[in-house]
């Protein structure tokens, strides 16, 4: 049975090639990401995982001289079509970055920014959303008494959860995590992982990670990238227990990467 039949496909990537100037970063990628599941993208450095995930909310457009071929469909709609609004895409597809990047503003204003940008003016609604998203990102108890403190005073792990809350406040349906724990200590990492497991009940999640245990812990599906190619894709259980491709097995067992 084809896995596509059992799950609801949220994002479909079709024949995608991506180039930085003349060097090709992604080669003919075909990949489906499913609703209410976490898909992990693993692979050694420079294999194109970050490039790949940044295509899903069109962040690579900020880099000059890049070129994309192929289609990326969100709920069947081409996100790069001329009549698609990039702002709408980014509100539907939120992103959490490798390094926590709160704005140099108060915790409250970090969260209200995305809502104001969306045109929400109702103060009560903004406050309600802020509290909800802080609770969802399990940060509420730590910051509820100091919402107007500068966000940069929080610890690295708290900052990253704030960034997740900021992303949730805009009510996205897909959340992209680009190595969200790369700069965090083990305890903060564990908290973020728990949070991702919780979030995937309601969101579609794509996570790039260097850490294979992390992929195993949080994801339902895993895609293994190598030198810009998608080598293998399948349920996380299968990829980690009985990979079909020899390269996948070598990477997972630590023979390179």
């Amino acid at each position: 049975m084809n896995i596509n039949d059992c799950f609801n496909c949220r994002i479909r990537v079709e024949n995608v090639n991506f180039y930085y100037a003349k060097s090709q970063a992604l080669k003919n990628i075909n990949l489906d990401m499913f609703n209410n599941n976490a898909t992990a993208i693993i692979g050694p450095s420079g294999c194109g995982k970050s490039t790949f995930i940044r295509l899903l909310n069109r962040m690579n457009e900020l880099i000059p001289n890049t070129n994309l071929e192929g289609k990326i469909l969100l709920d069947g709609k081409d996100i790069n079509a001329i009549d698609t609004d990039v702002v709408e895409i980014r509100q539907l597809v939120g992103m959490v970055f490798q390094k926590p990047n709160p704005f140099p503003k108060s915790i409250y204003n970090n969260l209200s920014y995305g809502l104001e940008v969306k045109g929400i003016k109702d103060k009560h609604l903004i406050e309600k959303r802020i509290i909800e998203s802080l609770k969802k990102s399990v940060l509420w108890d730590e910051v509820k008494d100091r919402l107007h403190d500068n966000a940069l005073r929080l610890s690295g792990g708290q900052q990253q959860r704030l960034c997740i809350a900021r992303c949730l406040a805009v009510e996205p349906e897909v959340i992209l995590f680009d190595e969200p724990c790369a700069s965090l200590d083990p305890i903060s990492t564990a908290k973020i992982e728990e949070l991702i497991v919780e979030l995937k009940k309601n969101y579609t999640i794509v996570i790039v990670t260097h850490n294979m245990q992390q992929a195993a812990r949080v994801s339902d599906f895993t895609a293994f990238f190598l030198l810009g190619e998608l080598i293998e894709f399948g349920t996380t259980e299968k990829i980690f227990t009985s990979p079909k491709n020899k390269k996948t097995e070598e990477y997972l067992t630590g023979r390179f990467g």
Partner: protein
Amino acid sequence: MNKIGKVKEFFIEKLIVICGSLSIIFVILIFIFLAREGLTFFKYESIKDFIFGRNWYPLSNPARFGVLPLILGSVMVTLGAMAISIPLGVACAFYIAEIVNPKMKDILKTGIELLAAIPSVVIGFVGMVTLVPMVKKIFHLPTGLTALSGSIMLAFMAMPTIVSIAEDAITAVPKRYKEAALALGATHWQAIYKVILVAAAPGIFAAIMLGIGRVIGETMAVMMITGNAAVIPHTLLEPVRTLTATIAAEMGEAIRGSNHYYALYAVGIILFIITFVINFIADIFLHRIKK
């Protein structure tokens, strides 16, 4: 190391120390000289009469040394120049830092910094033959030599400082702030206005202060195009005289050791205090960025 090498090293080291300390000593000497000559004036005249006096008639009998019209002249020309150069300069800095493509960015930035290299007498001259008649015609004035003309030309002189330093401050804003804003669905303008501007604000403020410092200290261009009438101005469309122009215009004719001579030094002290305070504030903000 052989003996000659050591001696050489010793002398070079000392030479550098001397060069370094000389530059500081000169500044201190200038300051002492200015203070000594200027403060002598206050033996004859009270500070209050000097600063709040409404008449500057250094050559009448008895001479009147009220510096208020000059201060107001400087303030008016400076405020006018800032009203023009701050919005233009900051907008230009954002355009160069955020919008234009990298190739054009280099051209624009070099061009604007070249503007700083134009001697002020040339700017004054260009203003005198082009802007002054225009101001006269547009506003139907008896003369185009007004505070407004001075403000416009000084705005040109403040622009390179403001644009260049503000652009550096905007470019120094970490890219991750902009990425975060865009990833939340902000438009480019929303990212600039609410995130980048806020993060770059101290640097932009420092740029503005340094621009003001440049404008207040400017002499040649204002002397040529502001009309040099030492009266208290009421609108931008009247001739004014600035602190700097007064010193430049009258120092040649003041007799050394006369009250007039010391009064001009006292004007210098006021100017020094104003520019010192402005540069000091700018410095505080520039240091805040480095942290």
